[in-house]
């Protein structure tokens, strides 16, 4: 099982996921867009224990990497260091941050398929994108707790989906496998599941 998780993006989502991962006992490496010194203080206060570093270094040292940066920046990802790695894509297209969609996303493709096409030698699984960061923070619960909420997972490799699901379980959520990366579209803004903060049973109905 993975013990070190890299989180690329040290904003609202990245910090929240760092908090959950630290609590679950993982070592966490976290990176923003630039020099680690820019995020060091925030990380030390908001997610004490996580190590601020560069994206390339974080990717190199981890088996599992979570993408928590704006979608429009995906071409800046350290492609080489991500080779062969399991990458959880939690990014969404958000026009207020990313600008017009036709600048970014070829029509018909799910955003995770596009990320997979760019990171062609990494293994992409889409997850942790449909729930708002404050819900992720407030709703994480231990296994079998009543009212536990669920995260939908899409990916082309069953094995990778299994690993990602067990990580999400340890972060505090049930999971629901919904199919390959193309199905990730259902989880995107405008899809039925976007924003969902619900149980696995309810999530299944929404799919």
């Amino acid at each position: 099982m993975a013990r070190t998780i890299a989180i690329l993006g040290a904003g609202k989502l990245g910090i929240t996921l760092s908090q959950l991962a630290l609590r679950a006992g993982y070592s966490v490496l976290i990176a923003g867009s630039g020099d680690p010194s820019k995020i060091k203080l925030s990380v030390s206060v908001l997610a004490p224990g996580a190590i601020a570093t560069t994206s390339a270094e974080a990717a190199r040292q981890s088996d599992v990497i979570i993408l928590a940066l704006p979608l429009s920046r995906f071409r800046k990802l350290p492609k080489e260091e991500l080779t062969g790695k399991l990458v959880i894509d939690a990014m969404n297209y958000w026009w207020e941050v990313d600008g017009p969609i036709d600048h970014i996303l070829p029509s018909g493709m799910s955003s995770s398929e596009m990320v997979q096409a760019f990171l062609s030698s990494s293994r992409i699984v889409k997850a942790l994108n449909h729930m708002g960061y404050h819900d992720l923070h407030d709703e994480a619960r231990s296994k079998k707790s009543p009212g536990r909420k669920a995260i939908a997972v899409a990916g082309d490799s069953k094995d990778d989906v299994r690993i990602v699901s067990s990580i999400i379980d340890s972060l505090g959520f049930d999971t629901l496998y919904i199919g390959g990366l193309a199905k990730g579209k259902l989880l995107e803004p405008g899809g039925n599941v976007f924003g969902a903060n619900v149980s696995a049973a309810r999530l299944k109905q929404l799919i």
Partner: protein, 348 residues
């Protein structure tokens, strides 16, 4: 510079939502703006500390030019502070923002407050000819220029996204020498650090989820302030709410209106309509301050304690709400909720 010690401040925030007249008709833009002026006069009379008006450029909101409305309020009130909430600095001109608010400060005898922010909507970018892709860089550069203008001395400045200035002096000067300025932030850690770097007091926009989760952000603000060699200012928070005579009545009136307002935004952002369960969860555990004066008073006091906030602004008048319900809410906020919160916080 701003408020100090145990001196709590309570405010009301409006975006100028189009309201409903007593006959059920949707008010037009002009009527909705005049309604806010009347409400601010009432709030002033009842002792509310601050009225803050947001800047929006969307069809459901009447206020795109808060400082113009605030100037009208200034001429009819005595005590109440006149704030923006927020001024979208990225798509504005820092020199003009200073000039407009210094003017407001003059006509109000020193009651102007600028709350700078990035705003949660971005309609202003195309409207004023800015490129959304420069979002970060615009804010970064403009807040720096603005912080220089606040010294009220000639400014020399070389800009990328802004004008360059050669010992430019900007008028009017304020009487006190200080234009009160805050920075409004959401959940972004970098924005908190930035506010500390420029030594601006912070107002946290907490519009969903548990307020407690923001406590570490305040610790971050204090540590960052210390690192930059400033003593941190007291922190404020702003959240949406509605108050009626009973909990049931408050929920009954507020739910459909909050839902309508949220769903309208959700439609463009791609999230699903708000369920009653989600709403009630926000009311119970989250950041919607909806209920009777006692319920809301307790909830505000708990939240202020949890994040150690010295200022609370309630965003009121969500959606097409009856003017009479808005009015009643302001009365209850001023005469029952605020005194109750002060009492719960140990200040009478």
């Amino acid at each position: 510079m701003t408020h100090t010690g145990n001196n709590y401040l309570f405010g009301l925030d409006s975006f100028g939502d189009l309201a409903k007249a007593e006959d059920g008709r949707l008010m037009n833009y002009a009527e909705s703006i005049r309604l806010v002026v009347d409400e601010a006069v009432l709030a002033d009379r009842l002792g509310v500390d601050v009225i803050a008006l947001g800047e929006h450029h969307r069809e459901e909101y009447a206020i795109s030019s808060p400082e113009t409305v605030l100037s009208a309020i200034a001429s009819k009130t005595k005590q109440i502070k006149l704030a923006s909430g927020v001024t979208v600095l990225s798509s504005d001109d820092p020199v003009r923002v200073f000039e407009r608010f210094a003017t407001l400060d003059a006509v109000s005898n020193g009651r102007a407050q600028v709350i700078l922010g990035r705003g949660s909507f971005t309609e202003s970018f195309p409207l004023f000819g800015y490129d959304l892709r420069d979002y970060e860089a615009l804010f970064e550069e403009k807040i720096e220029l603005f912080s220089k203008l606040l010294k009220e001395q000639p400014v020399t400045w070389s800009g990328t996204h802004t004008q360059s200035l050669d010992a430019a002096d900007v008028f009017p000067k304020t009487e006190s020498g200080t234009l009160e300025t805050y920075v409004g932030v959401g959940g972004s850690p970098q924005s908190v650090v930035r506010a500390a770097a420029y030594n601006f007091p912070l107002v946290l926009a907490i519009i969903g989820g548990s307020p407690e989760r923001f406590a570490p952000y305040i610790e971050l603000y204090r540590k960052a302030s210390a690192e930059f060699g400033h003593s941190a200012h007291p922190v404020g928070m702003h959240s949406p709410g509605f108050i009626a005579d009973s909990d049931e009545q408050a929920v009954k009136i507020a739910f459909p209106l909050f839902k309508q307002a949220m769903d309208k935004v959700g439609k463009t952002r791609g999230w699903q309509p708000m369920s009653r369960e989600h709403f009630m969860n926000e009311v119970k555990n989250g950041s919607m301050y909806v209920g009777s004066p006692e319920t809301v008073g307790k909830k505000i006091a708990n939240a202020m304690k949890a994040v150690d906030a010295k200022r609370f602004d309630m965003v009121y008048g969500f959606g097409p709400m009856q003017a009479s319900d808005r009015r009643r809410m302001i009365e209850l906020y001023a005469t029952e909720v605020i005194p109750r919160v002060r009492e719960l916080l140990g200040q009478s």
